[in-house]
Assembly symmetry: D3
Homo-oligomer: 96 residues x 6
C-alpha cells in the first residue's frame, strides 16, 4: 500500500531521505520496543484523525504480529484523550 505520504515524499527526494532517517531514529528500538512504538503510532494516527495514517500503520502493526484487539484498545485511548483534552479547555468557563 503506497500512501499519500509516500507519494509526496517521492516528489521530494532530498527531503524524503532526511525524513526517513528521522523516522527510523524515532521508530527503531530504544527504551521502547518497536512493537510499543508501532502501537503508539497507530494510536497517534487516530488521535490526529488521519485515516490514511491509521490504515497504513495498522497494516504495518498487523504485519509485526500486533493483534487487532491490541490496536483497538490503543485507539480507544486516543479517543479518551481527545475528550479529556477538551475538558481542560472547558474549565476556562469557570474563570472569574
Amino acid at each position: 500500500m503506497r500512501s499519500g505520504a509516500d507519494k509526496f515524499l517521492g516528489e521530494l527526494p532530498e527531503i524524503a531521505e532526511k525524513f526517513m532517517k528521522f523516522r527510523n531514529a524515532v521508530m527503531s528500538e530504544g527504551k521502547l520496543t518497536e512493537r510499543e512504538k508501532m502501537l503508539i503510532a497507530v494510536a497517534c494516527a487516530v488521535a490526529v484523525r488521519c485515516d490514511a495514517c491509521t490504515e497504513k500503520h495498522a497494516a504495518e502493526a498487523l504485519k509485526m504480529g500486533i493483534g487487532k484487539d491490541e490496536l483497538k484498545e490503543a485507539a480507544a485511548v486516543a479517543a479518551l484523550i481527545r475528550a479529556g483534552s477538551a475538558m481542560n479547555t472547558a474549565s476556562r468557563i469557570f474563570l472569574d
Copy 2:
C-alpha cells in the same frame, strides 16, 4: 477583556472591518437566536481547544444571561464529539 484576537485585528484595520461584518452576519439572529449561537460558539471554542476563545465567549454568554450550567453542558457536548470523531478514524483499523 481584550483578547489576542482583538489585538491582532487591531493591527489589520481593513481586514478587521471585513471580519467583523462576517462575524456579525454569523452571530446575529437568523433561524437560530443569538443565545443559541452564543452557546454554540462556546462549545466550538472548547471543541477546537482554544482557551482564549472559551474565556471570551463564556464571558459574553454570561453577560447575555446564559447560565454557567448551560455552558458546561454545551462544553460536555464538545468533549463527546471529540471522542466520537476519533472513533470514526479508528474504524480504519478494520479495513482489509
Copy 3:
C-alpha cells in the same frame, strides 16, 4: 446509517457500553434541551472537521425536526470560531 464510530464501538462491547452511557448523559435533556444539544453536536462536528460526524449528527438532527437552515447557521458559527481561534495565536507575533 452505521458510522465508522458505530463499527469501532461494535468491536469493543465493554467500552462501548460505558461510552454510550456517557454519551446519553451528555446528550439527554438537562439545562439545555435535546434539540439545543444536537445543534451544538453538529456545530462541534464541523469545528473538529469530522465529515462522518457531521453527516451522522445532521441526519439525527433532521429526524428530530431541526431544519437544514438551522444546521447551516450552527455550522457557520463553527467556521467563525476556527478563524477567531487562529487570531488569538496570531497575536503572539506582536510579543516583544
Copy 4:
C-alpha cells in the same frame, strides 16, 4: 495535581461519573497492559497538543514506574505522526 479537566468534571457530577467509568474501561488492563496504555495516553496527549494532559499523564506514568526516557520516545512518535499526517494531505497537490 488537579487538572482543568478534573475541575470541569467536578462541576458535572452525573456526567463525570459516566465519563470516569468510560475512562476506567479504556485505561484498565485488557489485551494491553496498564503501562502500555499510559504510554499511549502520554503520546496521544502530545499528538493533540494538550499541555495540561501531557503534564498530568506524564506525572501518572512516572508514578507507575515508567521512565522519562520512555515517555520522550513515545512523544517523539507523536511528533513524527503529526508530520506524516500532513504529508498525506500534501499529496493532494499532485491530483490532476
Copy 5:
C-alpha cells in the same frame, strides 16, 4: 471545481457575501503579493490537514503560475511545523 465550501456558502448567501469580502481582503496584494499569499494558503491547507482545501488552492496556485515544485516545498514546511509544534507540547513531560 466547486468545493464543499463553495456549496456551503451557496446555501448562506448573506454570510457568503461577507465571507468573500473578508477572503478578498486577506488574499489580495498588500505587503505580501498575491502569489506569496497563495503559497501560504496551500501550506496552511496542508497544516490543518484539509484535503479539499489543498486541492482547491493548489489548483488556483497552478493557474496563477506557481509551480508544483514550489507548492511541494511549501507543503513540506507545513509538515515540519506540525512535528515541531508537538515537540513544544512534549516538553511538558520534563516539568517537575
Copy 6:
C-alpha cells in the same frame, strides 16, 4: 529564546540530530527562498494554533528582515484557511 521544542530535542540527541537535518532540508533555499519559507512557517504555526511556534518563528523572521506587517498578513491567511476548511466539512450537512 529556547523553546519547549528545543528543550525536548535536547533530551533526545540522536533523534534531534536527524530532525535538524530534516528541518534544514525543508527550510533552506530551494525553489522557494528562505524568506518565503519562513513566512510560510509563521503562517503554519498560526494555522496549527501553536503559540510557542508562532513566537519562535516570528522572532526568527524578524531577524531575517521580514516585517511585522508581512507576518500579520501571513497570519490572516492562516485564519482564513481555518474558516474555509470548516466550510468544506459543513457541506456534509447537505448530503441526502
